[in-house]
Amino acid sequence: MQILVLVKAVPDPERANEITLDPETGTVKREGIPLVINPLDRNAVEEALRLKEEKGGTVAALSMGPPAAEGPLREALALGVDRAVLLSDRAMAGADTLATARVLAAGARYLGDFDLILCGAESFDGGTAQVGPELAQFLGLPHASYVTSAREKGGLLEVEAKVEDGRKKLQVRLPALLTVSRELNRPRGLSFSGIVRARGKKVEVLSLADLGMDPSRAGVAGSPTIIGDISTPTTTRSGEIIKGDPEEVVDVLVKKLTEAGVV
């Protein structure tokens, strides 16, 4: 099975509270926060490796991002993917989900034919859940979103996916794209032996020119959406801090809540 897994470099979720919005420029400020593989993409990598171990074949990892996104891709190599490709170009910057999907589609085509494309259902920083399905449209592939289990059987994928209050079972024709949920598997940890095995494997970096893509189709230029105003929410609540030992604060709180008629 030839598998492509999409890996987005996102700021370390452990340090999410350091990420802020710059109201002046409207950009996300995340200086000094290391980039890591988007958590759900770790599930996608795990599934790709598991399928490869079961069925044979190869796993390639693909990402679009700044040069610093090489780090997370190197991690993907250490986790066991065979090849890692970063699409990086100034003209790709500022892409919305559609322009991102379009560039990733060009990257996927450049790399060859795949039986299966896997990615996290949503990214930790954007959380839109759009890139997977949009990419599937650019590539003309069927897809399933929020997948919780996947099994290949006679050229078809038997897939379970999330819906409100339950699950659905789908039969998906290959080649296909799946966006995966956390419940799908437990991603393996980065192991020292994996790091040693990945020695000498390089992240390949491709530009728009390498992909033969017109800059007007990528980045800000290729994005139908733009970010307008940025604002910080204003608060309308009193924010009264109740002080004292546990007994005292509970006394005061219960009194206030009773007065307000909410208990």
């Binding site: 409207g26 989900t97 949009e134 069927p142 819906v163 307008g228 929410p233 809540l257």
Partner: protein
């Protein structure tokens, strides 16, 4: 690229022939937007044997209901639904297209946007029309709010989580039309076919309807701590809510998540424990009457959006609270 596009569309999802509330909520919001633009509001319904029910949507604000009624459309299936919706959008050219951010809505919206190569924003918490008549799509982002615009492509597409907008009161006297549309599905390949749907009855009273909500966050630390949250909720007759980390830890269920990518709650009393107060969570509690925050970190942003804050270790305070409310219940 924007010329010739007029009208506001709302995709009203149905399950087993019943319209999901989020679709009705969006009709309420869609009505405001359509009035602001001076354009028509259309509800789009796909399903099997849904024609007769479609009329009801006029009462929720639709000027027109577009119905595609075919056996193959009984349940949501990506290829079939996306084909119908894309074809209708191309033919009818709406300017604004709103969808509920259910799992199906979050699958359908990017599929259609991808095929049309238009812009889409996810999980908007506010929608407005600016002076140029463009849809301003507001989404929370890292302790702030960002406005997204789609200036040059149409339709302007957005998804909205259930509960973000209030359910409008139906007005039986409203008039409008129901228009059945035929779309040929014979030649459409259904490449991701639905085999089975397993649905469970949702547990207990839905979080979004609860009068009291006790919610926990990353600061709870372990399952034992989470038990305290549940105990407090039980004695208060409250629903239990959570931020993202307790889900990841497996303490809480997905349907308990409050915030941008979860539920919007409107209780009389919300008690947030061990919750730092990221924007993504706080947008889900804005309409609570009274907000109480318990956190040992005095710098936690939650205190800025709380009516009452307690800077303390919750493991010390919550047991006392439980005892006090127990006593109150017995005497009251």
């Amino acid at each position: 690229m924007t010329e010739g596009y007029r009208g506001v569309w709302v995709f009203v999802e149905q399950k087993k022939g019943e319209f999901l509330p989020v679709g009705l909520q969006l009709l309420g919001k869609g009505r405001e937007i359509a009035d602001r633009l001076g354009e028509k509001l259309s509800a789009l319904v796909l399903g099997r044997d849904v024609k007769d029910k479609a009329k009801a949507l006029i009462g929720y604000g639709a000027d027109e209901v577009l119905v595609v009624d075919q056996p193959k459309l009984e349940d949501y299936q990506t290829d079939l639904y996306a084909h119908v919706v894309t074809e209708l959008v191309q033919k009818e050219r709406p300017s604004v297209f709103l969808l509920g951010a259910t799992y199906n809505g979050r699958d359908l919206a990017p599929t259609v946007a991808g095929r049309l190569e238009t812009g889409l924003s996810s999980d908007c918490t506010r929608l407005e029309i600016d002076e140029e008549g463009r849809l301003v799509q507001v989404v929370p982002a890292f302790r702030g709010m960002a406005s997204i615009l789609c200036p040059d492509r149409r339709p302007q597409m957005a998804t909205i989580r259930p509960g973000v907008f209030r359910l409008p009161a139906p007005d039986e006297s409203r008039t409008g039309t129901v228009r059945e549309v035929q779309v040929d599905l014979e030649t459409v390949e259904n490449r991701a076919e639905l085999v089975e749907l397993y649905l469970q009855e949702p547990e207990g009273k839905p979080l979004e309807e609860a009068e009291t909500v006790v919610a926990g966050g990353a600061g709870i630390g372990d399952l034992e701590g989470w038990k305290l949250i549940e105990d407090l909720a039980q004695v208060l007759g409250a629903a239990v809510g959570a931020t993202r980390p307790p889900l990841d830890e497996g303490w809480a269920r997905e349907d308990q998540m409050i915030g941008q990518s979860g539920k919007t709650v409107r209780p009389d009393l919300y008690i947030g424990i061990g919750i730092s107060g990221e924007t993504q969570h706080v947008v889900g509690i804005e309409d609570a009457k009274v907000v109480v925050a318990i956190n040992n970190d005095p710098g936690a942003p939650i205190f800025k959006v709380a009516d009452y804050g307690i800077v303390a270790d919750y493991r010390k305070v919550v047991p006392v609270l439980i005892e006090r409310f127990k006593k109150l219940k017995n005497t009251g």
